[in-house]
Symmetry: C2
Subunit: 260 residues, 2 copies
């Protein structure tokens, strides 16, 4: 049987330990090609580079454990996927894996996520795609205990396919050195960020802000990604990019839009 | 009756003619405050600024036709909304209007749209929000013939509310000097971009790319935003930020995720 071709990318940049872990897992499954940003792109959402030029080069980050073909790209995660599919790869990959992100992309974080934007971009192009994130922001996070479960998810996706119009948002609880209890298919928890802006003054007297905030869960369901993660399960949210709210449609019957 | 407070923003930047048109329309309805990027942010998706500082200043762009309070911000459209709500406004706005974008955000473009990311950000914070886009990329596009219909949509939204978890993605056909035929509530058309990368060489011999592409409609429905626009109607797509694909859930029953 021909080995599957696996495109690996992320948003933390091509040297990130989470990406290196995902490459190692992917190499156990198929032929791996890496196209990832040359610098961190966290919080980039689904940004694409339309007003400036893109650079890409073949790189060797880890001769032993890396993939045979790795490219760094000056753009966003979505740019990386576009460039991979149109320019760098000579055949369509069987699956695209993005991550493993250093930090959660569960719940409303999916909206801001560069990791997930790469997966969504691949999904739009008709390629089964999964974004992986570990709920641990540390650069030295311990990804190892989750490796076998990540591999299992990728193998199941290759075997069963992923429904059209859908990509997977996988979040892994902080491991603290032990394997998560299992895997749950979930819905996206309702939540938002309570923003705080840290107001400071520069040495030259100019006022500026740092964006920060606190995650605020607005959902008590036990079928959500946040519940799963809090209970030490890996969460899988099937995530769609048709953003139409079909259930909201009825509301507009009362709007007087076309009367004069 | 107290006038509604209207927050106006966009992604083309605070001097963009589309924004200035939206301010003029909003001023006919309520009290207006503008917080918009100091430079164009098109294609920024739902990016937020987490690794650098944000600057904001009070500005006067158009003394006569502008709003009494206008702020430019160094960040993305989503940053502008966060900063407005947490720092610059002293009460919650009744509605947030984003745009009018110079160019379409219909169909899959919603994913890449800075205009819509501002609206979605406001929606997440519990504020009724609408993103407006004109399907004309020209800086000198003629917004005027659509003004009365835009005003009608804003008034209906203020009167009837917008369903929770939903923001409106409004796209306006290129006017060519005449008012669109009417307004239709639609679903997001299925489409993607056939990317092309224009490969060039810099004066110093370095290879680089420009991202370009062609919009490819994969949907023949007459209930889509693309159909409406093509037939000279304004499209309204109720757009949600719970990305969970509930209909895909059943698929995962066959996955062997928790067996050993």
């Amino acid at each position: 049987m021909k080995k599957p071709l696996i495109l690996v990318t992320n948003d933390d940049g091509i040297t990130a330990p989470g990406l290196r872990t995902l490459i190692a897992i992917a190499k156990e499954i198929g032929d791996v090609i890496v196209v990832a940003p040359d610098s961190p792109q966290s919080g980039m959402g689904h940004a694409i580079t339309i007003d400036s030029t893109l650079y890409s080069k073949k790189v060797v980050i880890d001769k032993e454990k890396g993939a045979p073909s790795e490219y760094s790209c000056s753009g966003t995660p979505a740019d990386c996927v576009k460039l991979a599919l149109q320019v760098l790869l000579d055949r369509k990959p069987d699956i695209c894996l993005s991550g493993i992100n250093h930090g959660s992309n569960a719940s409303i974080n999916v909206i801001y996520s560069g990791t997930m934007s790469a997966a969504i971009e691949a999904g739009i192009e008709g390629i089964p795609a999964i974004g992986f994130s570990l709920c641990d922001y540390s650069w030295r996070a311990n990804f190892e205990p989750a490796s076998q479960l990540i591999k299992k998810i990728v193998l199941e996706a290759l075997k069963n396919g992923i429904p059209k119009g859908t990509v997977l948002n996988v979040n892994i609880p902080k491991t603290d050195g032990v394997e998560p209890k299992g895997i749950k298919v979930c819905r996206q928890a309702n939540a938002n960020w309570k923003e705080q802006f840290d107001k400071r003054t520069s040495p030259t007297g100019r006022e500026y802000f740092w964006l920060s905030g606190e995650f605020e869960l607005l959902d008590e369901g036990e079928d959500t990604d946040i519940w799963a993660i809090s209970n030490n399960y890996i969460s899988i949210v099937p995530t769609q990019y048709d953003l139409t709210s079909y259930k909201a449609m009825a509301h507009f019957k009362n709007w007087r839009l076309n009367e004069h």
